[in-house]
């Protein structure tokens, strides 16, 4: 069968199980857009800006566990993807980007809309390709999907010159196994590793599991929970680990780190054994490395060898797939008890309850934390929540306990404002179910709000909840704590978000009082055939507590003042 390069691209996407692509056409990718007319089974979602396409594919991948696909043209089309690609890279999200390139004969001549896209994206992709020969195209796309989804997943970009898309060749799908001499993701631990880990586990009196994104990526939630219950080991989650383990479980300490729970951070600093499962000791999680978990031996299981000893020196490093490694470890485990340790942690928890804003009467004022907590109650804690970046993101992490994997999608590593709305659209279209909520701040929402048009056109069932405080709240919080309240460049004059949504034909409401929160959420949930928007006008001056200042010791948290101290 003779096919053009463009048709080969789409044939390959079909064989990878792709059902939806997020993209934006342009000169150098037009042959592929034209070929799409022959492949109606591949749904194409027209975005309003290529960054939106990259975030949508990322959101799709995080929600479904499948590879997200992006299509864009050369030059500005491709460079607009960069923020989205870097976001996917930092959070190990499997995305394949296909970009058009100027014809191979003019590459290097500064042709119209030419950019060295493989050069630009080299540091922010897991791998990338520039395909010069149509005979290589099918195999390259297969390899790209293989690399994106295996090992530690990540974004892969394939740059395809226009003449390669137009070239015609006999299409034979390469069925042979992928042979990459330098790419063999590790799977199993050695027997020595297992024995060394067991020795530490059996001796520990104050053990703690640190569960990261790897728990979800590896599908190891059940194994980790079994481990925790059998050895009576409490667990704390990273931001991206949320959903990997049920947060309402009695052994759960919630999130750790800069805005983690006080008791999770105290447990880390007082533990004598840390079991780091699929996490990478990010600086937002460790605080001051010199004083981090000073009394703890450390077992680190991760699929990425370069994460071992990168930030924290560990005693037993195990490179492998978490689910596989725990499968090797579990048969040797004996039931253990840590009553004194769990008792100590419960004391810390009671102190935190007293300070918690959700346990306070705040009168007429509407707090974002209350909105998010009410959303958790109104949705039975079972929504897929996609956040943007900032204070609302941390409040989500604190006040919306997740039970299932792939139910919190958030930009953790890169902290990309503008991620929320497009990622939620990608998740909603991928899942095809109406319980996807985008919780966004008024700042981040305005970075990518043009994707309201995409949500409208595609009837994406996304409920958008704006935590509108008229400020770049997290930056304002840092200015309050560390820059003597000089609020430079953080107040925002916002448009009327309800009118804005209505201009797009999106049903919208404004909520200013606590008693209207749950009815509004129920109203939004009742609309299942397209997007909705709720503008929650929340308290301007609330702060995310607790907070570990950058570089401070993990247990030196700024705590929310007690009620008796007469402050919020």
């Amino acid at each position: 069968m003779k096919l053009t390069g463009a048709e080969i691209i789409l044939e390959c996407l079909l064989r990878e199980g792709v059902d939806i692509m997020f993209g934006y056409p342009g000169g150098a990718i037009l042959p592929t857009y034209d070929a799409m007319t022959k492949y109606p089974q591949l749904r194409h979602v027209l975005v309003r800006h290529e960054q939106g396409a990259a975030h949508m594919a990322d959101g799709y991948a995080r929600a479904t566990g499948k590879v997200g696909v992006v299509i864009a043209t050369s030059g500005p089309g491709a460079t607009n993807l960069v923020t989205g690609i870097a976001t996917a890279m930092m959070d190990s999200s499997p995305v394949v980007c296909i970009t058009g390139q100027v014809p191979s004969a003019v590459i290097g001549s500064d042709a119209f809309q030419e950019t060295d896209v493989t050069g630009v994206t080299l540091p922010v992709t897991k791998h990338n390709y520039l395909v010069y020969d149509v005979e290589e195209l099918a195999y390259t796309i297969r390899e790209a999907f293989h690399i994106a989804r295996t090992g530690r997943p990540g974004p892969v970009l394939v740059d395809i010159p226009k003449d390669v898309q137009n070239a015609v060749t006999e299409f034979v799908y390469p069925e042979e196994p992928i042979e990459l001499p330098g790419y063999h993701p590790p799977q199993r631990a050695t027997d020595e590793d297992i024995a060394a880990a067991l020795a530490l586990i059996e001796k520990a009196e104050r053990p703690l599991i640190l569960a990261g994104h790897g728990v979800i990526m590896s599908g190891a939630g059940r194994e980790v929970l079994q481990f925790a219950e059998m050895t009576q080991t409490p667990f704390a989650l990273t931001l991206l680990g949320k959903g990997g383990l049920p947060e309402t479980h009695p052994l759960s300490l919630g999130m750790m780190g800069m805005h983690g729970t006080g008791y999770a951070n105290l447990a880390i600093q007082n533990a004598d054994l840390l079991l780091a499962f699929g996490m990478r000791f990010d600086d937002r999680v460790t605080g001051n490395l010199k004083t981090y978990a000073p009394n703890a031996r450390k077992i680190h299981i991760d699929i990425d060898v370069s994460e071992i000893h990168k930030n924290v020196r560990v005693d037993v490093p195990i490179v492998g797939d978490l689910k596989t490694v725990l499968g090797q470890l579990m048969p040797h485990l004996k039931p253990l008890e840590h009553k004194a340790w769990l008792g100590q942690i419960r004391d810390w928890m009671e102190d935190a309850d007293e300070r918690d804003i959700v346990n306070r009467d705040v009168g007429e004022r509407l707090f974002a934390a209350h909105v998010i907590h009410d959303m958790w109650r109104a949705t039975g804690g079972d929504s897929v929540v996609v956040t943007d970046v900032g204070q609302h993101q941390m409040w989500e992490a604190q006040y919306y306990p997740h039970q299932r994997p792939h139910t919190l999608l958030t930009s953790g590593g890169l902290g990309t404002m503008g991620f929320g709305l497009p990622a939620a659209i990608g998740a909603a279209l991928g899942l095809g179910q109406p319980n996807v909520w985008a919780i966004v701040g008024d700042g981040g929402f305005q970075m990518t709000l043009q994707e309201l048009g995409t949500a409208m056109q595609e009837r994406a069932p996304v409920n958008i909840a704006i935590m509108n405080n008229g400020f770049l709240g997290m930056v304002r919080q840092w200015q309050e704590f560390f820059y003597e309240e000089r609020y430079n460049a953080t107040p925002m004059h916002n448009p009327d978000f309800v009118k804005l949504a209505e201009a797009y034909g999106i049903p919208a409401r404004r909520v200013t009082r606590r008693e209207d929160v749950i009815p509004a959420i129920e109203w939004a949930n009742s609309i299942t055939d397209g997007p909705t928007l709720i503008d929650f006008v929340v308290e301007k001056h609330d702060l995310v507590y607790p907070m570990v200042p950058t570089g401070a010791d993990l247990d030196k948290m700024i705590r929310r003042p007690l009620p008796s101290e007469n402050a919020i």
């Binding site: 493989t118 050069g119 080299l122 540091p123 897991k126 791998h127 520039l130 395909v131 010069y132 020969d133 290589e136 195999y139 690399i147 042979e176 042979e179 990459l180 001499p181 330098g182 790419y183 990425d304 060898v305 370069s306 071992i308 000893h309 990168k310």
Partner: protein, 177 residues
């Protein structure tokens, strides 16, 4: 302390760029990097001398899809060679001095004119540094060094053969540059 790493890489376009980009973005200090073909036309070999934590560099390099194998050979007995071409200004008085130095260092004069000679000297880094220090007062006009290449002694072998690779799948160019 300086560490020496040897890496086998796929002979594909842009691989040197990937390696160099990694060193820059991870803030690794690199002393020298040499790259050249092996007896397997699909695989090139790099010798990298660094002044940094070589374990981090090794694991990061290993993560690059086109890097097949990386070894830190610092602790293994090896033969290391650097080659320098040094153009020295000479006159009738100093020419003899240069010839004598070449004898001592087992260097060769590979080009000679009335005013200048080119000295080719091979050896480990220290030897070349000593040679240049002795030639400097005579008058070095220009100099070029290849950077260090390393091979471990005896039975310790880093062979580029025996890897499963897709035949002929190297695109239109087979060159790490």
């Amino acid at each position: 302390m300086k560490r020496t790493l040897v890496a086998l890489v796929e002979n594909k376009p842009g691989v040197l760029n990937r390696v160099a980009s990694l060193f820059r973005r991870r803030n690794f200090n690199i002393d020298s990097l040499t790259v050249g073909r092996t007896e397997n036309p699909a695989i090139s070999r790099m010798t990298i001398v660094v002044d940094a934590d070589s374990e981090k560099i090794r694991t990061q390099l290993h993560k690059l899809v086109n890097v097949i194998q990386v070894q830190d050979v610092t602790e293994i007995p090896d033969v290391s060679r650097d080659l320098a071409l040094i153009k020295v200004r000479v006159n009738s008085q100093t020419r003899g001095e240069v010839v004598q130095l070449c004898d001592i260092f087992r260097a060769h004069i590979v080009d000679a004119t009335t005013d200048a000679v080119i000295v080719e000297v091979t050896g480990d880094e220290d030897k070349i540094t000593s040679m240049t220090e002795l030639l400097r007062p005579i008058g070095i006009l220009e100099m070029v060094r290849t950077g260090v290449v390393t091979m471990t002694r005896g039975e310790h072998v880093l062979s580029p053969n025996g890897y499963k690779m897709r035949p002929g799948g190297n695109g239109y160019r087979t060159n790490v540059l």
